[in-house]
Symmetry: C2
Subunit: 412 residues, 2 copies
C-alpha cells in the first residue's frame, strides 16, 4: 500500500500536461513559484483561499491584484447578481456603461472621459494607439524591464515576436530623469508618448515609488513636445490613490491604463484621458466581443463606490504597514536581512544576499505550510478584507518561517 | 408643453457624449447601424431583448455572436451560479480549466491542446505568435478585408497604427488559390502562417463559404513549407460545426482561434493546436489578469456540452434556413431582389442595386419598428433559443418591412 496517493493538485497537473502546452501558461503558471505551491484552487472568501486539496491560506496575492475588497464582497456580489439577472452581454451596453464612465471621470482628476475593455494589455495598447493617433508620431518611451502587458509590442519574452513589433519603443531607466531626457532626444520629432508604470515594480527587484523629479521631468517633456504622458496604473490602480497613483507625486497623466482591481476580480480594463486626447480616442478602432458586458461594469461601480466611501486605500495601507512592521521586527529578532519595498499596500519582500532566491523560496514554502500565501519575487497585494487579526495570524507563520530560514542559511 | 420628451436611450447617449469619446467605440457603436436603432439595452431572455425604453425585439444579432443558446439558458446559468459561489478569479485556475481543455480537445479533431484568454483578438494574436515561435519565420498571409481583431497588427483602421505593425502581413484574396500561392511565394522562406477566416464574412460583402480547392491549397502550402495553417473561428465557431468550421471542407488547421459563442456570452477566448505546435505554444509568454477566471470556463463547459448533446448546430441551421426561405418567398412576392449569403446560421441579407444601403437601412428600420432586430450589412446570428414560432413572427415583420421598401424604391 502506497502512502503517496497523489494530491488532487498533482492529479490535475498531470491531466493538464496532456491538454495544455507545458501544463499552464503565463504568470499564473506555478512553475514560477516555489515547489509545493498549489496550481489549482477551489474557493475563496474575504482574504482566505482554499486550494483543491482543501488547504486554507491567508492570501497576500489577491489573485495577482484583482481582488481589492476581498472575495465575495457583499455589495459587489449583490450588484453582480442583479445585473446578471437582467442581462450581461447584449447587443449594446446597458446604462451601467454611462454610470461607470461618469464615476471614473468623477474619481480621477485627469480624466475627462473613459473607455473600457477586458485586459490590462488592451488598455495599455489602446493608450499607445490613441497617443499615436493624436500626435501622428510613432516613438513610445518605456522603462527597461517594466511590464506593460503581454502583446507582441510589450511582452517580456521575445519568443514569437518580430523586431518590427518593438521598432518604435525607446528605453529609459525608471526614476532617472536624465535617461528619460536622452530617450526623448533620441525620438527626435517622432515622440508620441512616454509610457510609465505607476511605480517601479519590476519582477524580483526592489520596488521604487516615482520620485517627484522623475515624474516632473516626464510631464515636462510631454508638455514641451505635445507627446502623451501615459501612466500604466493596471497593477497599482485604486490601491495607492483613488484618483490615480501619480496623484501622490502631484503629476497628472494625459492617458492612463487601468484593470486588475477595478471590478474586484471581474474582467474589466479602462482607459482614461484628458480632453486633448478625446478626438483621437474617438478616431481609433478598438473593440472586443465582451467589452460592453454589463456585469463587470456593475461590479466596478460597486467596487469603486465602496472603496471611496470606506477609504479602502487607507485601510490597505494600514494593514500593509502592520505586516511590514511585524516582518521588520521579526527579521531584527532573528538577525536576518530583509529588504521590504513598494507601497505597504503592494509589498515586495526580498532577502539580503539571496541572488538565487534560495532564502526567499524557503521562506515562502515555510509560510505556505503554515497557511500563508506569499510570493518570493513578485509584488504582493493587500485587500480591504485583510484585518489586523489576519495580519497578526500571518505574522505568527512568518516568524516560524524566518526562524527556519535562519536555521538553514544562518543569520546575515 | 413639448411632446418630445427624450427617450431614455437619447438621455443616455447625451450623458455618454460627455464622458466617452464620440459617445461610444467599436463595433457596438450604434452610429454604424440605421437611425432609430437603440444604443442601450436593459435585459434579455432567450432570443428576446429589451432596450432601455422597454421595447422588445426578436434578436438576430445574438450580441454580435456570443449568445448561442439564448440569454439565460438554464444549464449555463446554473453552472455560472455554482462556480461564482465557489470562486471566479483566484490565485490560479480551478479544475474547470482542465475539464474545459479536455472537452475542447475531445470536440475539436485538430486539437491536441488548448489555451484560454479573453478576446478574439487575444486568440488570433497568440496563434500568430505561436506560429512565429514554431517556425522562426515572420510572414503571415491574411485575406484582404478580413477581420481578425482590433489590435494594431489587424484592426481595420490604420489610425494610430504604424507601418511596422503590419510589416509582415501579406495579403491574398479569399477563395482564390492562385492569389494565395502568389502571396506564399512573396513570403519566400519567411512564411510563418496562413491566417484565414472560417468563411468569408467581410462587412457588407456577400458571404462565401471556403471552397474545397481554396482550403486544400492553404493546407498544401503549409504542409510543404512547415508554416502554420490558422483558422480564425472566432465569429463562426460552434455555429457551423462543433469540431471547427473547416471540418465542413475536410481540412484541419494547425492552430485555431475561438471566442464569441464559446461560453454563451461570458468573456472567454481559446487557442487550439496540434502537437506539432505544442512546444512553441509552451514557449511564448502570453497572459492576462482574468484569463484563468473560472466562471466563464464553467459557462463554456455547460455551453459546449449542451450544444453537442442537443445538436445545436442542426437546430440553428434549420431555423436560419426557415428565415432564409421565408425571406426569399417574400422577396419574390414583392418583386424585390435580395441577396442572402453565408451559412443559414449566420445570415447576411443585402439588397440588389443598393450600393448606398438605402434599401437595407429602410428594411432594418421597418423591421425594428415591428420588433425584429436585424443588421443591414454585418453577419447576423441565430441561436438555439430561436424557435419556429419566433422565426414566423419575425417573418411577419419582414414582410411588412419589404413592402415598405418596395413602396419607397419600387420593385427591382
Amino acid at each position: 500500500m502506497s502512502e503517496h496517493r497523489p494530491t488532487r493538485d498533482q492529479e490535475l497537473k498531470a491531466r493538464a500536461r496532456r491538454v495544455i502546452p507545458g501544463g499552464m501558461w503565463g504568470h499564473l503558471d506555478v512553475k514560477r513559484q516555489p515547489p509545493g505551491y498549489p496550481q489549482y484552487f477551489e474557493r475563496a472568501r474575504g482574504c482566505r483561499m482554499w486550494d483543491v486539496d482543501g488547504r486554507e491560506y491567508i492570501d497576500f496575492m489577491c489573485s495577482w491584484g484583482p481582488i481589492i475588497l476581498g472575495h465575495h464582497d457583499a455589495e459587489v456580489d449583490a450588484a453582480v447578481r442583479a445585473q446578471a439577472e437582467a442581462g450581461d452581454c447584449l447587443n449594446g451596453p446597458s446604462a451601467r456603461l454611462v454610470e461607470l464612465a461618469e464615476l471614473v471621470v468623477e474619481l480621477v482628476p485627469h480624466a475627462d472621459w473613459a473607455m473600457f475593455s477586458k485586459n490590462g494589455t488592451d488598455a495599455t495598447t489602446v493608450c499607445v494607439t490613441i497617443a499615436r493617433a493624436a500626435t501622428k508620431r510613432r516613438k513610445v518611451l518605456a522603462a527597461r524591464r517594466a511590464y506593460h502587458g503581454a502583446a507582441p509590442w510589450c511582452t517580456p519574452s521575445l519568443i514569437g515576436v518580430t523586431a518590427e513589433d518593438r521598432a518604435h519603443i525607446v528605453h529609459f531607466d525608471y526614476n532617472d530623469p536624465e535617461s528619460l531626457r536622452q530617450a526623448a532626444a533620441e525620438a527626435k520629432d517622432d515622440l508620441a508618448a512616454i509610457l510609465v508604470s505607476a511605480f517601479r515594480h519590476d519582477l524580483g527587484r526592489d520596488h521604487e515609488l516615482p520620485t517627484r523629479d522623475f515624474a516632473a521631468a516626464a510631464r515636462d517633456i510631454c508638455d514641451r513636445t505635445g507627446a502623451a504622458l501615459i501612466v500604466d496604473d493596471v497593477r497599482a490602480g485604486f490601491r495607492l490613490h483613488m484618483g490615480g497613483s501619480w496623484e501622490l507625486v502631484g503629476v497628472r497623466p494625459d492617458l492612463a491604463a487601468w484593470s486588475k482591481a477595478i471590478a474586484n476580480g471581474h474582467a474589466l480594463a479602462a482607459v482614461t484621458g484628458s480632453d486633448r486626447f478625446r478626438e483621437a480616442a474617438s478616431s481609433v478602432f478598438t473593440t472586443g466581443s465582451f467589452w460592453c458586458a454589463s456585469v463587470p461594469m456593475a461590479a466596478a461601480i460597486a467596487t469603486l463606490t465602496k472603496l471611496r466611501d470606506i477609504d479602502g486605500v487607507a485601510h490597505m495601507h494600514a494593514m500593509g504597514q502592520r505586516l511590514r512592521d511585524g516582518l521588520a521586527t521579526q527579521a531584527k529578532t532573528h538577525g536576518i536581512g530583509l529588504r521590504q519595498s513598494g507601497p505597504p499596500q503592494m509589498p515586495l519582500v526580498l532577502f539580503e544576499d539571496d541572488a538565487d532566491l534560495a532564502k526567499g523560496t524557503l521562506f515562502c514554502q515555510e509560510a505556505l505550510r503554515r497557511g500563508v500565501f506569499l510570493h518570493q519575487n513578485h509584488t504582493m497585494f493587500l485587500s480591504v478584507a485583510h484585518t489586523a487579526a489576519d495580519i497578526d495570524q500571518a505574522l505568527e507563520a512568518t516568524d516560524a518561517a524566518l526562524k527556519t530560514v535562519v536555521e538553514r542559511f544562518g543569520a546575515a
